[in-house]
């Protein structure tokens, strides 16, 4: 009953999480497989070896099944900004809409066009044109990821805009600042490598299964080799770009960093929790309970990651709520209550501005605009009520982050071992490794989803950091309406997922049949 009583805002959040979570089951495999297929087809065109063609066509078949459901789950996400987050759509649509439109014009059409050549063109276009099409599918999918991540990064780090009190919205002032913000570009790289990682883990796992079943050994080893190289590159780059992400989060979203680390009391030279368990008895951010039941820390590493200085002060949740510490720019951090006051001042100034304008009191309007601008950086705080509203779900963010990192570390080791066995030992006979490869696949998916949990749960309550919390961003629809669509999507997507998985399993069981695929 509690669930049913939740507000439309929370149900809209749940619906977005549901649809995004499902969508993200399919996108990484699409991008990762596109790369692996393109590499394999390049080898086919270069060497003329038909086995590479057979391998390409097999993975292409899997790609096709996965691509369809990725599209199906994706369309809802775009339109949901309008259906469920109507205020958001107006308040920042001037900036946010642009990358979505560019994604459609450039990326989707490229993908859709060249996917059709890739699927149907084997006998209708030249070998080289077909290869170019496969690479363009990969490029289109990556471009699509780029623009959607530009949009997402902007929500986490809003720049290149100015608030216009007349139109009551934020307006873009610098397109390039939005398109190439450091957060966007790091986010794009980190997310893209995570896609390569899932694609690689998938190819290696399925190949492992063939070796276990003693089928298609040559194909499996070939696929494993490409998969392992892509996988190792991807996971090493994930670590590098993950470091970049942590740095940006520390600078731009300190509350998210504190939640990721379960850090309540900030300190200088803060350590990074390697392994830890949070104390469930901690109910409020400022109660006396110890945040951890246990933890193993790597000394000073959090300060180094977040501020590039082993002795830097990393604020905890309590510090961010209470303020009073020195920010990297030398100013003193404001408390939640101070920011809320300023947020309320900004909102009131906007209301006063609107009234003054309507009544033709232009001089008054100008004064209110000045007040609004002075306080605009805290605008969103005016919609929050208590300190607790500012704090994301700490356990969810903490465990998601740490599990993701652990899985990432595991995969670096895994792919090193795989490559060692592929080059130095007999992979076909190493049955234990085939089992490991197969059972590692769910881990790749889990890590990939957890990355988004960290990014999106960790930034709550903000849809736009500091400017617009979820409470003020949603549409005016009742929770009953959203519950109904939530259930419809949950049932539909679950049904389609089951169908997708069973179709894939059947195709994999059938195997890379050279007769059927040679056409």
């Amino acid at each position: 009953m509690d669930l049913l009583a939740a507000s439309a805002v929370n149900w809209s959040r749940a619906q977005f999480a549901l649809t995004a979570g499902y969508h993200w089951l399919f996108v990484p495999l699409t991008i990762g497989l596109a790369l692996i297929m393109a590499i394999m087809e390049s080898l086919y065109v270069k060497t003329g070896d038909e086995k590479w063609k057979i391998a390409t066509k097999f993975w292409q078949k899997i790609f096709g099944i996965n691509f369809a459901i990725g599209i199906a789950t994706g369309i809802i996400l775009e339109f949901q900004f309008g259906t469920n987050w109507s205020n958001y759509s107006w308040f920042v649509g001037d900036i946010f809409g642009a990358p979505l439109a560019i994604e459609g014009i450039f990326a989707f059409f490229m993908e859709a066009t060249f996917v059709s050549i890739m699927f149907f063109g084997w006998n209708r276009v030249s070998k080289k044109m077909h290869l170019a099409s496969t690479w363009l599918v990969f490029l289109g999918a990556s471009l699509s990821a780029f623009w959607i991540l530009v949009a997402n990064a902007w929500m986490q780090y809003p720049i290149g805009m100015e608030f216009n009190p007349e139109s009551v919205r934020n307006e873009m002032t610098d397109f390039w600042a939005v398109a190439f913000s450091p957060v966007a570009y790091n986010k794009f790289l980190h997310t893209t490598f995570s896609c390569w990682a899932v694609g690689a883990a998938f190819v290696v796992a399925i190949s492992g299964w063939y070796l276990l079943k003693k089928r298609h050994a040559d194909f499996a080893v070939k696929s494993m080799l490409i998969g392992s190289i892509v996988g190792l590159v991807a996971f090493v780059m994930l670590a590098v770009t993950g470091d970049g992400s942590a740095y940006h989060v520390a600078q731009k979203q300190p509350m998210k960093l504190a939640a990721m680390e379960g850090l309540y009391e900030g300190k200088e030279g803060a350590g990074l929790v390697a392994v830890g368990m949070l104390n469930p008895a901690k109910e409020r951010y400022n109660d006396e309970a110890d945040p951890y039941i246990f933890k193993i820390e790597l000394p000073k590493l959090l300060s180094l990651l977040g501020y590039r200085n082993i002795n830097a002060f990393v604020p905890g949740i309590v510090d961010i709520v209470d303020g009073g510490y020195t920010l990297p720019d030398g100013t003193t951090a404001l408390s939640f209550q101070e920011r809320r006051e300023r947020g309320l001042t900004a909102i009131k100034a906007l209301a006063d501005y609107q009234v003054a304008k309507e009544e033709g009191r232009d001089a008054d309007a100008a004064n209110h605009e000045t007040i609004l601008r002075e306080n605009y950086a805290h605008f969103g705080y005016g919609y929050l009520q208590t300190e607790e509203d500012l704090i994301p779900n700490v356990p969810l963010t903490f465990y998601s982050f740490h599990l993701m990192v652990m899985i990432g570390m595991y995969f670096i080791l895994f792919f090193v071992v795989m490559l060692y066995f592929l080059y130095k030992r007999d992979m076909v006979k190493s049955r234990w490794l085939h089992y490991v490869a197969l059972w590692s696949l769910p881990l790749a998916y889990i890590a990939s989803e957890l990355g988004w949990v960290v990014a999106e749960v960790g930034r709550q309550p903000w849809t736009i950091q500091d400017i617009l919390p979820v409470q003020a961003a949603s549409s005016a629809i009742s929770s009953q309406n959203v519950i109904t669509t939530f259930i419809l999507f949950a049932v539909l997507f679950t049904g389609l997922l089951i169908a997708e998985v069973t179709i894939m399993v059947k195709q994999i069981r059938k195997g890379p049949d050279s007769e059927g695929l040679k056409a």
């Binding site: 439109a101 560019i102 014009i105 009131k348």
Partner: protein
């Protein structure tokens, strides 16, 4: 000199053009709605599915781009219509979700629900996708029940912080209660089926299906023409939503859309040309047993006709998304568009559209140099 007003008009033209392209590409949905009636045998069904299956992504991508471009250029429409007419849009999206998997999954072993279910999904998408889109477009002329109060977010008024508020609890389903909306909804449905029949005549190398498709051009073309004419005449004679350019006050004006045509003769001329091309494609295909290019005439005609119709909804001081509940909440090109900066930046982006169109054209040609026959299904490597 590129002014803000010019950019708003430019972007309304782009949106109208995208709308026209989308309606043309709905032939895929039209075809899906007649898989069962047009074909008798399984191999005929497969051929139809595969002919459409090579095109469905264009329609889908155009719909997504249409949404994204609307968001970027007229965000107040995006927030008001999508957030308000929640159910109309959700049902529309829902049936497009069904479509996206149905081609790829229907003939694959292990698809759980069976080929009939996926084809039913395609039918649902074919019926609702076209009909609901027609209803939504009609509401650009007939109006919807919403209010817009930009001060809401700052606590002005009593409606809470949400700027756009839908005033009918049916959240978009009430649009189905308007006969004029229904007329256009069914007109678009029959147009899509007519275009699909013309497409099959053009694409398929299959005598029986081609013959039957010619008949279907007539069966569907006739109701389309009748319904479209009813909608058109009704709309031209009805009251429209005029905007006073000096005060921005919206008022009802008798025969506003007819006035728009008269005051924009170029739009009227192109509109009539578009209608003539649609009719030519239909009539010539019906009366000549060998004419196969009907889809190109009717398709191009559809794009031009719909584009001009949408221009009439927004140009010449007209509220393109009117509120019948509160006239002054109506959305106009001026009060709902993005900023001048964003429209300019996006205008630069739009200059690349011909490049996109060029490679789509290339791909279409590369894959369609020869007609699609049953034999191709086995040799092309990827079938549905």
């Amino acid at each position: 000199m590129i002014t803000y007003e010019f950019l708003q008009q430019y972007w309304w033209f782009i949106m109208s053009l995208l709308g026209g392209l989308l309606v043309f590409l709905l032939f895929v949905q039209g075809g899906q709605s007649m898989l069962h009636s047009l074909s008798r045998k399984e191999d005929e069904k497969r051929l139809l599915v595969n002919a459409l299956g090579r095109k469905w992504e264009y329609t889908f991508t155009t719909l997504v781009t249409f949404g994204g471009a609307f968001f970027a250029s007229f965000p107040l429409f995006y927030s008001t219509s999508f957030g308000g007419a929640y159910w109309a849009w959700m049902i529309l999206l829902f049936c497009f979700v069904l479509q996206a998997v149905s081609y790829e999954f229907q003939s694959k072993p292990g698809n759980i629900f069976g080929v009939r279910t996926y084809r039913m999904f395609l039918f649902i998408n074919g019926l609702l996708g076209t009909f609901l889109l027609g209803v939504m477009v009609a509401s650009f002329f007939t109006g919807s029940e919403f209010t817009v109060g930009k001060g809401n977010i700052a606590g002005l008024g009593t409606a809470g912080p949400v700027i756009s508020q839908w005033q009918n609890p049916l959240h978009g389903l009430e649009l189905l209660g308007n006969l004029r909306n229904l007329t256009l909804g069914f007109a678009v449905f029959f147009l899509a089926r007519t275009l699909a029949s013309l497409f099959f005549v053009n694409r398929l190398s299959h005598e029986v299906l081609e013959k039957r498709s010619r008949k279907f051009v007539l069966f569907n073309g006739l109701p389309f023409v009748v319904l479209f004419l009813i909608f058109l005449i009704w709309t031209l004679l009805a009251e429209g939503y005029a905007v006073d350019p000096a005060t921005n006050v919206v008022s009802l004006e008798k025969m506003k859309y007819l006035h728009n045509f008269v005051e924009m003769p170029l739009v009227m001329a192109l509109f009539l040309l578009g209608v003539a091309a649609v009719l030519y494609g239909i009539i010539h295909t019906v009366f000549s047993g060998s004419f196969k290019k009907g889809i190109w005439f009717s398709g191009a005609g559809t794009i031009v006709t719909v584009t001009m119709l949408l221009l009439v909804a927004g140009y010449n001081n007209t509220a393109f998304y009117p509120s019948s509940f509160d006239l002054q909440s109506s959305l106009t090109l001026q009060n709902s568009s993005s900023s001048e900066f964003t429209l300019s930046a996006m205008a630069v982006v739009s200059l690349f559209v011909p490049v996109v169109a060029a490679y789509i054209f290339y791909a279409w040609r590369a894959l369609e140099r020869r007609k699609l026959s049953l034999e191709d299904l086995n040799s092309d490597g990827h079938t549905y």
